[in-house]
Amino acid sequence: MAWWRAPEVFGPWLLLAAALVAAPTLGDDYLAYQLGLYLLYGLVAQGIALTWGRCGFLPLGQALFFGLGAYVSGLVLKAAEVHSAWWAAWPLAVALPAGLDWGLARVLFARRSESGPFFSLITLALAMLGFQFANQWSSVTGGFNGLGGIPDLPGFDRYTTLYWLIAGIVLAATAGWVWLDRMPLGTLWRAVAEQENRLQFFGFATDRLKALAFGLSGALGGLAGAIYAPHQGLVTPQATGFQLSAELLIWAAVGGRGNSSPYGALLGAVGIGWLSATLRQSFVYWEVMVALLFIVVVLRHPGGAVALAAPLWRQLARRNGDEPAVAAPAMPGGTDDETLAFEGVRVQQSGVTILDGLDLVISTRGVHGLIGPNGAGKTSSFNAMSARLPVTAGSIRWRGRCLAGLTADAVARLGIGRKSQIPSIFPTMSVRDHLRIAIWAQRASGLDLLRGRTQRWRTPLPDTLTAELPFLSTQADRAAGELSQGQRQMLELVLTFLTEPRLLLLDEPCAGLSTHETAQQLALIERTVASLRATALLIEHDFAAVERLATQVHVLHQGRLLVIGTLAELQADEAVQRVYAGGRK
């Protein structure tokens, strides 16, 4: 949507611009100078708002990247006084922190599908290490006393004109933040925070999405540091330490997360930061009170200060009319060889053998039933395919390609879609966003994720699905967490279909549904699998459902394949009867 039609987007930005222009006129040059400093801190806090408020992982050592940018910038500015060729190195002040962040996130997130405390503590440790280095490496950093005598940025005077440069950068960064947030990439970041697993099953490499966000937050920190050096004329080890990191986080949190968090971060940094600088000396318990405020915000008011203004912006927000849809790129169709083959697959965990040499070949399209008593290894065979359980022996091949060592998202990109047993959705995101994300999955290139046009992508499939499941359009703006259990099951099934997989892994898609809903869900599966000309593996306890859809049924027992046949054949089979009657083979 064009910006002039979204007052809730440009309104706050214009307000910020007006405030930044008006502020210096309210006081002397010193006021503008101080304001400039806290705006720089606000930039770093915006980076925290991006990773923590949006992507859901918490960096505790953000000052390191600020300090790194400041030291590099200070060193380059000093060197450039002697020889102007050094100017070429100035961009390093932004590039180094950004690169460091990106690389760190790639390494730390590569093997983990959650964000947890591990990442936070490593960043905290890095910040403390940075502080130690800055202190010790005095030949470069000036040690404890800091790197002094940093000249002005050419063309700017730190006490007067530099403020305008800072204000410009802040406005640009805020606009950039808001823009990214409204692009498909922003939607995906929010989804990462809510349900990372689901995104991986769609085929998104979530570790890359997170690394990108962290890299950008590092770039913001580095940029703020790069300006901080000539602004202060001095960089001390405190600029990299954990004290500043802790304060930055408090500012970001108290200022607020959510749609308005770039403003919240600035507000928190300027408001609390400035107050702290003046009150810290005179009032001993000031910082105790700030810490208390922080805890109260986390406990009672996670939205922070800007959340108070949110209803106002919502009033301004106009419903966007239906804009012309754009055809999404087509997915590659099937190939001749669509065979799934398990060969002697063993899965063991915590000393328990879950799959015990499973052999299973599925080479015809259509729905195949997968049944067996609890603990037979049905869901585990799915987990072994999508890298959720380690395969200790044997191999799983799909279209002749071995799945060993692939991550969940890479498996999904080979055309294997998965519907989980308990519907996995993004609870606070709208149904509309869910459908969008599923359409982007595997179709959108990195560049597409930065285009507003991608928001309007359509494929023929959802239209037919919407006709059958009206709630997809009538409740498009509702948060998926508010849907009924049945609707959530159907939503996740639809999402899995939208990626147009060649092989569908459906794990009890009718669990918790009423009789009527079950019939509807089964009809949906039958028709869609046929129209996609795909292969589907259906785990189901409801034999009537299996009978209706599957021509061939595979019975698993104790991690092995017991029998294959039609349901009627199996019901007559003695081995199957014994298994279901509780006997051992």
């Binding site: 440790a125 986390v298 915590s350």
Partner: protein
């Protein structure tokens, strides 16, 4: 030369014992309850300040240990009720809230005692001969205490009914509750126990380290590294982690300097998170 080797190995052992002692509280809270207590280091810091208080008042120093345990128990009880329980299903916010708690404790101590370093004037400067090498008696006593404490704890965890209840809660909280265990109370006491462990560790460390409001941060990170490398949930993992982290720290620090020792430990932890996220000893 032989004396040097003995001193060196004793230093290594001492470092490992220290790490195991400090990480024990976090191993209980993070390893068993899955709560990352970012204020772990601050509980330790409070324990050290308990010694400072006892010394200022002029009481016998050893009274600092029960005082540390008591203070940490009371604070942990309150914190569990106000912060941990309401956020039980929001682990991310628990991280933030305990981080805030850490700041609150740091700043409160700073407001009362000031930022400066405190020290404990203890008279325990005696040494003992170990295979011909003199070694500080207090350190030896500390190592023995850690060994005994861990042994008793392991025995209690495996053999006592309370230990069995905790194991049941960790393995399957829902089932444990269904069988009539009051998991909320168990979790509360586990949190208190972890915090008290940190406080006692702080009191015992007080004569050996610099005492200041921000001292907890280093110890939080050290404990965390021990758990990352060793793996969560087992005593074996705790010891293995303490040995590897302590060994690396001592080896690199003596070869280069302390900062590089920290770098080496950090790199080791990152390497583990990347290639072996479950640590050396995975929970059975």
């Amino acid at each position: 030369m032989e004396g040097l080797a003995v001193t060196y190995s004793l230093n290594l052992l001492y470092q490992c014992a220290l790490l195991a002692l400090v990480a024990l509280g976090l191993a209980i809270v993070f390893g068993q309850l899955g709560i990352m207590n970012m204020a772990h280091g601050e509980f330790l810091m409070l324990g050290a300040y308990a010694m400072v208080v006892v010394q200022r008042v002029g009481l016998p120093l050893w009274l600092g240990v029960p005082l540390a345990a008591l203070a940490c128990a009371v604070i942990a009880l309150v914190v569990e009720r106000i912060l941990i329980r309401p956020l039980a299903h929001r682990p991310f916010d628990t991280l933030l809230a305990t981080w805030g708690l850490g700041i609150l404790m740091r700043k409160s101590v700073e407001a009362v005692f000031g930022r400066g370093y405190q020290s404990i004037d203890h008279g325990w400067t005696g040494t003992l001969e170990v295979v011909g090498a003199p070694y500080p008696a207090y350190r030896l006593g500390l190592m023995a205490a850690v060994a005994v404490a861990l042994g008793v704890l392991a025995w209690w965890y495996r053999r006592s009914p309370a230990g069995a209840r905790v194991q049941a809660m960790v393995a399957n909280p829902g089932l444990a509750e269904a069988m009539g265990l009051n998991t909320r109370r168990l979790a509360m006491w586990a949190f208190v126990a972890g915090s008290v462990c940190a406080g006692i560790a702080g009191a015992l460390l007080a004569p050996l380290v610099r005492i200041e409001p921000a001292m907890g941060m280093d110890w939080l990170l050290a404990s965390f590294f021990v758990l990352v490398v060793g793996g969560l949930g087992t005593l074996g993992g705790l010891l293995a982690g303490a040995a590897l982290i302590g060994g690396t720290q001592v080896a690199v620090s003596s070869a280069l300097d302390a900062t590089w020792g920290t770098v080496a430990v950090l790199l080791l932890a990152i390497l583990f998170l990347w290639r072996r996220p479950n640590g050396l000893v995975a929970r059975a």
